[in-house]
């Protein structure tokens, strides 16, 4: 584990301008400043040969060739999935279908596909898309439920006053996940992303204002995060008995019940139990709570239960209240 510590640690200290870029507000206020900042982005002529190379000042120099790194260490939980969980989940989630699936009911006339007027028109299904009523795809050995990614997300309310309040959360997320921007040449890895407001809510939030951070973990780093969470954090949380299941009376057709995502939150004091944070907890201005989303490939009716079966296979407890 320690051998690869350095690969996991990310990044130079953070510079705030480079991180956030100009928000719509700041653009409006300092028009002249943002204009000068954009000067090097849209350049009409090549730079002078003596000028230093331009690059964002929070990034390491780009690699001279395109290299992508793959697995660099054995992954215990991934092995566990492939040796034990996958087979068990296939048996647990198998639904026997001895007949072909019935066609959807055609209770309304559809456009004639041969009529040149209506040839490529969209034929909406009756009753909308019926997301919550769709059946899962037939059980096959190829579509056994699996974990696609884990998303960790935290909102920092104080960032509304000053965006520099996000810096602590950014650094904590980097330490927690070890994911740097395009780290190891993997072009899909975004590292720590800034979450901005989408809506305008009077007196609280405006569109484009940075309010939180999130990280998407896939593959090896995802399994490593789950391992740390399960072995170091959850057992030490005093009042955590398990992820609370929704009551049995709750609807099974809501989008959240058929999306195959298991989500739960951790309180701020849980962050101090991560060993990466624990070693220098004083360096962070405060501890941050977080939401953790386990995104699986399950879809259709009952997807949530299948996703829970998978997640509980990684020893995350569930309780009914």
């Amino acid at each position: 584990m320690r051998l690869h510590q350095r690969e996991y640690q990310a990044d130079t200290p953070i510079s705030i301008d480079a991180l956030f870029g100009p928000t719509p507000q700041s653009k409006h206020q300092n028009f002249s400043k943002s204009k000068s900042a954009n000067n090097h982005a849209i350049r009409s002529r090549p730079p002078h040969p003596c000028s230093p190379p331009q690059r964002p000042n929070n990034r390491s120099p780009p690699s001279p060739v395109n290299l992508v790194t793959r697995e660099f260490a054995p992954c215990r939980l991934e092995d566990h999935y492939h040796t034990t969980l996958q087979e068990d989940l296939m048996y647990m989630t198998y639904k026997h279908e001895h007949l072909p699936r019935p066609q959807p009911r055609q209770i309304r006339l559809t456009f004639d596909p041969n009529d040149p007027y209506s040839k490529n028109r969209y034929n909406p299904p009756v009753g909308g898309s019926r997301v919550g009523k769709k059946l899962p795809p037939p059980s096959t050995p190829n579509n056994v439920i699996k974990l696609e990614k884990v998303v960790i997300h935290t909102m920092v309310k104080e960032a509304l006053q000053s965006k520099s309040n996000l810096l602590g959360a950014i650094m904590a997320m980097r330490t927690l996940t070890g994911e740097g921007h395009k780290a190891g040449g993997r072009h899909k890895v975004e590292g720590v992303q800034i979450v901005r407001g989408k809506k305008s809510v009077g007196g609280w939030i405006r569109p484009g204002v940075p309010v939180g951070v999130k990280v998407e973990l896939k593959g090896q780093s995802m399994y490593d995060f789950i391992g740390t969470l399960v072995e170091f954090v959850l057992p030490r949380l005093r009042e955590f008995n398990g992820v609370v299941l929704p009551p049995e009376s709750s609807s099974v057709n809501t989008p959240s019940a058929v999306s195959g995502v298991v989500s739960f939150g951790l309180p701020p004091q849980a962050m101090g139990f991560f060993p990466q944070i624990e070693v220098n907890q004083d360096s962070y201005p405060k501890m941050y709570g977080m939401h953790i989303h386990f995104v699986t490939n399950a879809t259709g009716l009952d997807a949530e239960n299948r996703a829970r079966a998978l997640v509980s296979g990684f020893q995350i407890p569930f309780i009914r209240r």
Binding site: S60, L67, P102, M171
Partner: protein, 304 residues
């Protein structure tokens, strides 16, 4: 329009029948004859177009019900990580080297207090890792006061001793691997093991998975394996079926359904009718069981 409505109605009926069928199928395995009739009834109603096949002739009911048994494939999951092949090791080392070369600068001042013991240790270890990755010529030795360097090394050594580094690890090969004890649950830690029992059937000794007849309020797998273990049956669905060849045609057909289970704790305490038991890997099972039995169960076992 009328035809459409009719089509809708027939499909709807079909859906209803299928649902009913499912409920029956789940409720009990004994209802299999009933299910069959329902399934054959459902087929003609699918005849929306002319493409559907003609209804199959109903086979005459057998006079005797098949004798049902349940067998348990009791599995001990791997307790050690998989050993890597030399190719995998070389691949991982190569990828780790690339990652090390591409990684973003490490913020020492954020993680360590300047001049702290932890920082000294990290620097020393980091130097070793660089040497291991890129060769000893890659790391430039900075000039350091030899007295201080010695003191640092000693302090780091003391710290390592305090943290219990360098203590011998538990070996990956268990004593039962060396002695060839197939009854131990600690053997072959990297592999999936399955419980096999030796019993007398039709006058000869056979190795097979634990099995029992269908009886009410009786845990099937406990009949032969004893109650001195904690198990978890993975699913209510059988994972396979086996029909042993019949000795005499007059007796009812024997059907064995296989279920998968995991052993969590304890050990097998076999019943008196069982002569022996063993925890074996898939490859070892092949050598023990009959060829016909093996052909039917091999796909239910994990290769590794």
């Amino acid at each position: 329009m009328e035809a459409l409505a009719k089509f809708g109605a027939s499909v709807y009926m079909l859906v209803g029948e299928v649902r009913m069928f499912r409920r029956h199928a789940i409720s009990s395995l004994r209802h299999i004859p009933l299910c069959r009739t329902l399934a054959t009834e459902a087929q003609p109603s699918t005849s929306v177009g002319a493409s559907s096949p003609p209804p199959q002739p109903i086979t005459p009911k057998k006079s005797t019900k098949p004798r049902l048994s349940t067998a348990i494939i009791l599995n001990r999951s791997p307790i050690l990580t998989r050993p890597l092949t030399p190719f995998e090791q070389a691949y991982h080392a190569y990828q780790a080297r690339i990652r090390r070369a591409l990684h973003q600068p490490f913020p020492y001042d954020f993680y360590f207090k300047q001049g702290s013991l932890l920082e000294t240790r990290f620097n020393l270890e980091e130097k070793e890792r660089e040497k291991a990755a890129f060769g000893s010529g890659f790391v430039q030795e900075e000039w350091q006061d030899p007295v201080k360097a010695e003191a640092d090394k000693a302090a780091v050594k003391v710290l390592a001793q305090q943290e219990g580094e360098g203590e011998p690890l538990t070996p990956r090969v268990h004593a039962s691997d060396k002695s060839g004890d197939t009854k131990s649950l600690d053997r072959a830690g990297e592999r999936n093991l399955y419980l096999l029992l030796k019993s007398k059937e039709n006058g000869k000794d056979v190795w097979r998975f634990p099995q029992g007849g269908v009886e009410k309020s009786d845990f099937l797998y406990q009949a032969e394996c004893g109650e001195k273990m904690d198990t978890w049956i993975v699913s209510r669905n059988p994972i396979g079926v086996y029909k042993p060849p019949q000795v005499d045609t007059s007796s009812p057909e024997h059907v064995i359904f296989f279920y998968k289970g995991h052993i969590m704790a304890g050990q097998v305490a076999p019943a008196e009718s069982i002569q022996d038991f063993a925890w074996l890997t898939k490859q070892e099972i092949e050598q023990q069981v009959d060829k016909e039995y093996w052909e039917n169960v091999k796909d239910m076992l994990s290769d590794f």
